[in-house]
């Protein structure tokens, strides 16, 4: 895929990358405070607050209908909040003097005019952003659309439109990228390409907020996650913190599971009977289980770490079984 070469070449195409590295100061570049949006009877976003640090890649996660897109549209000044505030670089998007130079965004349901060719669409965006015409060719090459640039956007596949959206977002070389489900419509090769692009952009010191309903889709790319469900914040954590939570269940094989479970419960842990001689313990370390069992003379035949995946944690956090099939 020529895009791979193009990504390698972005150090020059996406100018100012080296300078951005120098700006890697951990300060909030995106701030959402008490954000609420009500559409009639529907409470789409409910007192949501989170921040995104400069130079990080943050996954904005939640099941379909969690309120992610509405939140991003409020952040970008397209939807007016019922209450609460949003700020990018310390001010609302609508008050940014040259917003395209600060934030590049790819949103769902935001297509160029279908009768226009991709190159003409980008020429318009370049003129609007006051960037040279040559930049159009650079971003077309970056997203591997050079050969299809003369085709009308209406003839593009969903994946090609996503690439064109990324080209549009990168046109003005913004420091911040807000991407709403950018992998939608991409084939596996395209998803792999997107991951490399995001890593490349993060490596250049850009701040990326990328939404997805699939944790696995972004787990390899993001530094931290903001998880929301039913319009509310579920958690904001670094990915390694989430990973820690994912491996805390310990399987124990013992001839006296009921007694051991009671003992663990007395000591603040949680144990579930997983078979006639098996317990699944959470909230206790292996050392703690061994010590308690030894003190009570309860034999332990075997302990295993139940490696719950990130997706399991995600499902536990969002707690919506209706979405499990989608997420898995």
């Amino acid at each position: 895929m020529r895009a791979a070469a193009a990504i390698r070449g972005t150090a020059t195409g996406l100018a100012g990358a080296a300078g951005m590295k120098g700006r890697l100061i951990m300060s909030s570049v995106i701030e959402v405070r008490g954000l609420t949006k009500r559409f009639g009877e529907v409470l789409a976003v409910d007192r949501l607050s989170f921040t995104v640090e400069r130079g990080t890649v943050t996954g904005f996660l939640g099941p379909n209908g969690a309120g992610k897109t509405t939140t991003l549209r409020m952040l970008l000044g397209l939807v007016t909040p019922s209450s609460g505030t949003t700020a990018i670089d310390g001010r609302p998007y609508r008050e940014l003097p040259e917003p395209r130079h600060v934030v590049g965004a790819v949103l769902e349901a935001s297509n160029p005019y279908p009768g226009r060719t991709a190159v003409n669409h980008l020429r318009i965006e370049a003129l609007a952003g006051d960037v040279p015409r040559a930049r159009v060719d650079e971003v077309l090459d970056l997203v591997d659309l050079t050969e299809a640039a003369g085709r009308r956007v209406g003839q593009y596949s969903l994946g090609m439109r996503q690439r064109l959206g990324l080209a549009t977002a990168l046109l003005c070389d913004p420091e911040i990228l807000i991407l709403d489900e950018p992998a939608n419509g991409l084939d596996p090769e395209g998803v792999h390409w997107l991951r490399r692009l995001l890593r490349q952009l993060a490596g250049e010191g850009r701040t990326v907020l990328v939404s997805s309903h699939l944790l696995a889709e972004v787990a390899q790319t993001v530094d931290s996650v903001v998880i929301m469900d039913h319009g509310r914040l579920v958690t904001q954590a670094r990915l390694d913190e989430l990973t820690e939570r994912a491996t805390q269940a310990i399987g124990v094989r013992t001839p006296r599971p009921v007694q051991l479970a009671a003992l663990l419960a007395e000591n603040g842990a949680s144990a579930r009977l997983a078979g006639p001689d098996r317990l699944e313990v959470t909230g206790a370390s292996g050392e703690m289980i061994g010590t308690l069992a030894a003190e009570a003379a309860i034999p332990i035949y075997e302990t295993t770490t139940e490696a719950a995946g990130l997706e399991d944690v995600f499902l536990q956090l969002t707690g919506n079984s209706a979405h499990q099939e989608v997420i898995r």
């Binding site: 917003p99 349901a109 935001s110 160029p112 005019y113 279908p114 009768g115 020429r123 965006e125 952003g129």
Partner: protein
């Protein structure tokens, strides 16, 4: 603002509908002018007279309607095709976007009117030459009619931008323009002659030299002996309607959430 107008002009230049409507405006104007000229001497004055030639060379009303349709498409199309999101991401100040669209579409609309005026004049003069008659209409008058057609189409294009922003439903907006110009104004103008000079489409057609009521269609067609508004007053009237529609849109639909 200049950059924003250039952006909107580039958008118009890269839309097929811009050229399609222009072609339709020129073709229909040529047809109407030929029909008018071919009937001259029967129900209308002969083309050899200034009145007859004037009738044949001032049939730019359809071009003005199509300029208005373009205005509707330019704004409502942004919502229909969800490209409004991209537009407002680049320029969050939606009133500036609306203003730039009105200016840019008015410029393209002026081209519709000028093209229609030139074509109608050419057809009228061709009929005149075919009959071997002398040109009885002054050059300055004919140029004035062409320029007036450009002005009328420009103002109706801007009016269409306001209407499209207000309605946002493209099909309803386009149908609304045709129904208003071809049916409602014809009926209102034909039955209530006192208000005829103040109807926006009728006023716009008089800018291009058409007699009051000559721009009406079907049973409503009746050239009135009543005086049309003076040029500037007619232009101000259409501009005021366009501004009013845009102002209402800016306070209502344009501020709505883009979801």
């Amino acid at each position: 603002m200049t950059r924003l107008v250039r952006v909107e002009l580039l958008k118009l230049r890269t839309m097929r509908v811009t050229y399609g409507l222009l072609a339709a405006a020129v073709a229909v104007t040529a047809l109407f002018s030929a029909l008018e000229a071919s009937q001259a001497g029967r129900s209308v004055p002969p083309v050899s007279t200034a009145a007859g030639l004037g009738d044949a060379t001032t049939v730019s009303g359809v071009a003005m309607i199509l300029a208005c349709v373009l205005g509707v498409i330019v704004t409502s199309g942004e919502f229909r095709h969800t490209s409004a999101t991209l537009t407002y991401l680049a320029t969050p100040d939606r009133r500036r976007v609306l203003g730039a669209k009105a200016l840019a579409t008015a410029l393209v609309g002026a081209c519709y009117g000028l093209a229609a005026g030139i074509v109608a004049t050419a057809v009228g003069l061709a009929f005149l030459a075919g009959h071997g008659d002398r040109v009885t209409l002054g050059t300055a008058t004919m140029i004035g009619h062409i320029a007036g057609a450009g002005a009328g189409a420009a103002l109706l294009a801007a009016l269409g931008v306001g209407l499209g922003s207000l309605i946002r439903a493209q099909l309803a907006g386009v149908i609304g323009v045709f129904v208003w110009c071809m049916v409602i104004e014809s009926i209102l103008g034909g039955s209530l002659s006192a208000i005829r000079p103040y109807l926006p489409y009728t006023a716009a057609t008089t800018l291009g030299g058409a007699k009051l009521g000559a721009g009406a269609f079907g049973p409503g067609y009746s050239v009135s002996s009543q005086q049309a508004l003076p040029f500037l007053a007619a232009a101000a009237l259409v501009a005021a309607v366009a501004a009013a529609l845009s102002a209402v849109a800016a306070r209502t639909t344009v501020r709505r959430d883009v979801t």
